[in-house]
Symmetry: C2
Subunit: 195 residues, 2 copies
Amino acid sequence: MAKSPTTRDAVVPVLAEAFREHGYEGASMSVLQEASGLGRGSLYNFFPAGKEEMARAVLDDIRSWFAERVFAPLRAAAGGDRASAQAGIAAMLDEVDGYFRSGRRICLQGAFALGRERDRFAEAVGGYFSEWADALAAALGASGAPEPRALALRIVGAIQGGIVLARALDDPGAFVAALDDARRAARVEAQTRKD
Amino acid sequence: MAKSPTTRDAVVPVLAEAFREHGYEGASMSVLQEASGLGRGSLYNFFPAGKEEMARAVLDDIRSWFAERVFAPLRAAAGGDRASAQAGIAAMLDEVDGYFRSGRRICLQGAFALGRERDRFAEAVGGYFSEWADALAAALGASGAPEPRALALRIVGAIQGGIVLARALDDPGAFVAALDDARRAARVEAQTRKD
DNA sequence: GTCTATAAAGCGATAGAC
DNA sequence: GTCTATCGCTTTATAGAC
């Protein structure tokens, strides 16, 4: 049995997993209580505004993780030559594969985008995707791709679609294939201008 | 004010829209009652097993619509020559664009795939996507694409990802772009073997 | 700061009048 | 067949003991 987290920072990732597994509405206080091992009083002590504040903290935490492990490396790669930009994009896709556990783990922002949660968390959801697309477009541009913005949206979309398909078909291979396609697309488009 | 539907068949599309807008959990009996203009008694008369039966009827109705307007034409196109197969694929993408209203309307099966509903409706969700992918793969094969199955999954995934992005970024253009990419990919791959 | 008990509202489902 | 009233349960949030 895992030890109960004792700080707000430590409980956020646990809540994140509960939200991913049960959805926003499905993650009732009882579920969150059991997942965290904390009593109701402790949870409301950490998050006085209740469930909505918890979800906001979770979305923010996910975005921080991506900012550090995905967006920042992409922007760094965009500052180098074509080869390093391409390497940075490939590294991003590996990082993403690990994060989503080959499609077995959902993207909370993506799931929120499809539901009622979209309105309440619009800024967090939209910001996450536009930051991702911006960073990826920068790296794609540096890699030599002719239409980096469009390709970035295509790749981020393919990743989201891959998660949907992997879960719908109960086959992680659908997500892995989507990532492979993204890798290939990034490579091919980069060569388009490698004249 | 729209007239209240008086048959089970007529109420299903209304319930479908309510489920799309509110999600499975968010579509409470009160919401479904208000959306349909029917009393609780009528709804339970049509769907004795309650909400779950309503959702099943909705998923089945959507699948029927796709079977008639999307899957069957694709399979018919697959039986013709390369040109007609390509035309069938293009027509499918137009049909899909209209159905999802350029990304303003979500795919209920896709949304269910990302949530808890996936387990309860696994067969309906998985069947929808595999039927779609199968029909599209057949048409792609007939169009001359070298790896029709992989490309079919890529295209269906891109459509789902396009819906996620369009809603997350509050920009239907993201969905339209995903469809354009799909159109291009189907055309390019078909030419690959046009030797 | 953490707990339990409870309040107030909403849920899905049912019963019974008509 | 359609309605309203209501049951039993769960929800989020709060209050008060420790």
